[in-house]
Symmetry: C2
Subunit: 221 residues, 2 copies
DNA sequence: TGTACATCAGTGAACGCGCGTTCACTGATGTAC
DNA sequence: TGTACATCAGTGAACGCGCGTTCACTGATGTAC
């Protein structure tokens, strides 16, 4: 691993070109979705021949994997930064929606329809649990300051299940109520986001922001 | 439109072949997702030449559109039948999950990542509101028998928003609380389903059925 | 500072493949008198 | 019932395209003495 500042010009150039390839790849994905990603098309857009890209990525699959990794990293960093700035659960929720709306294809790369046969690399699961830990932190803080998200009707059965299956909490010391709150946060907001991004509310005349805010209020109460 | 029983043998044969093409199309989609659908591959599988299929579908796009229509119809019929058999909201929720798990690609055709540039035909929105009406019926009945899904903390702001944007209810006489309940049902269950189908819970060691049941209990209380 | 060599970016040709779609045509099935 | 004609399913060849990927090669950039 090269130490920053000690890169040779060649290394710098390589990194720069890899970055540009990825940038063009995102543009293509934005235009035609991930299945429409083509190495040849990227090369043409950069004024290079197709095979040239193989100096930078071993295959189309490796490029896509890298984009998925970047998408996860982007989300983890965005959520992590917001939490670091003192955002509470509701703030993280707003951050999540802003992140999703900022680039829906980036969202879809993580949470969209999975490609049959494709398996994400192992290291992204580490990033995924990094995100979960941030949520658990926020949920734990929220739990200290507020009542349960269901107004005193905590779901004992769910909390028992969550308490017994804590692999996903990665040793996080959150209480059962906080586990539950973090999970509800995650699943409910993704429900709204995926329906909104796919346009399922537009035909209904509803304002997705209003629905989203409502769930945030409910989760924070 | 041909009257049933008055079809000529040729019409019958046409209908039969269209059905077989669609059946093979579903198999292909199950194996490689919707982007991997190929008319030539279907033809080969049926022992025919590629161009032969153009007697039955004008283009690949028309075939996909037809599959989407069928997916919507399947969901509307399944939910409608359950409601007709006296299922309450929780029952419809279980029906929804069973339908989704029965064929995830069928679910994705409706609720998965949209293909940029593709627009679903108008008539599917009619089917979509048919589904919503079924939900509104059930939510209205539930409202008469139970308390609000948030235990007496109804979200006045959300209900006001919903009451002011009732295009999606298509003239349904549901009360504001029922509108809200139906929408929460829809968005929360889809959040769980989309995460479950994409495998986002498998790495966490959680049982999606448990989470789903928890939301159903909450929505029905 | 200058020369000899190694490294590496990028090219162009080629391979093999599959795609959607069109077209002119053959042969079977149905219809009309 | 039998003949003449129209309808229609399916074929095979072809078009034009783009894809991922390999390979041998050129030319520029960097390194070592």
């Amino acid at each position: 691993m090269a130490v920053a500042g000690k890169e040779t010009p060649r290394e710098r150039y390589r990194a720069q070109l890899r970055a540009e390839i990825k940038a063009r790849a995102w543009e293509q994905i934005a235009a035609a979705g991930a299945p429409g990603l083509s190495l040849n098309a990227i090369a043409k857009q950069m004024g290079m021949s197709g095979p040239a890209l193989y100096r930078y990525f071993a295959s189309r699959d490796e490029l896509i994997t890298e984009l998925i990794r970047d998408a996860y990293r982007s989300l983890a960093d965005t959520i992590g930064t917001a939490a670091g700035s003192g955002a509470d659960l509701a703030g993280l929720g707003r951050t999540l929606r802003a992140w999703a709306l900022d680039d829906r294809q980036r969202y879809y790369l993580i949470y969209g329809t999975p490609v049959p046969g494709y398996h994400a690399p192992d290291d992204v699961t580490a990033i995924a649990s990094e995100i979960m830990e941030t949520l658990l932190d926020a949920a734990q803080s929220a739990g200290a300051a507020a009542e349960s998200p269901d107004d005193g009707h905590p779901d004992a059965r769910l909390e028992a299940h969550l308490a017994q299956h804590r692999q996903w909490t990665a040793g996080h010391p959150a209480e059962p109520a906080a586990l539950r709150r973090a999970l509800l946060f995650w699943t409910r907001l993704h429900g709204l986001l995926s329906l909104e991004l796919a346009g399922h509310f537009t035909g209904m005349g509803l304002d997705p922001a209003e629905l989203y805010d409502s769930e945030l209020r409910h989760l924070s109460q």
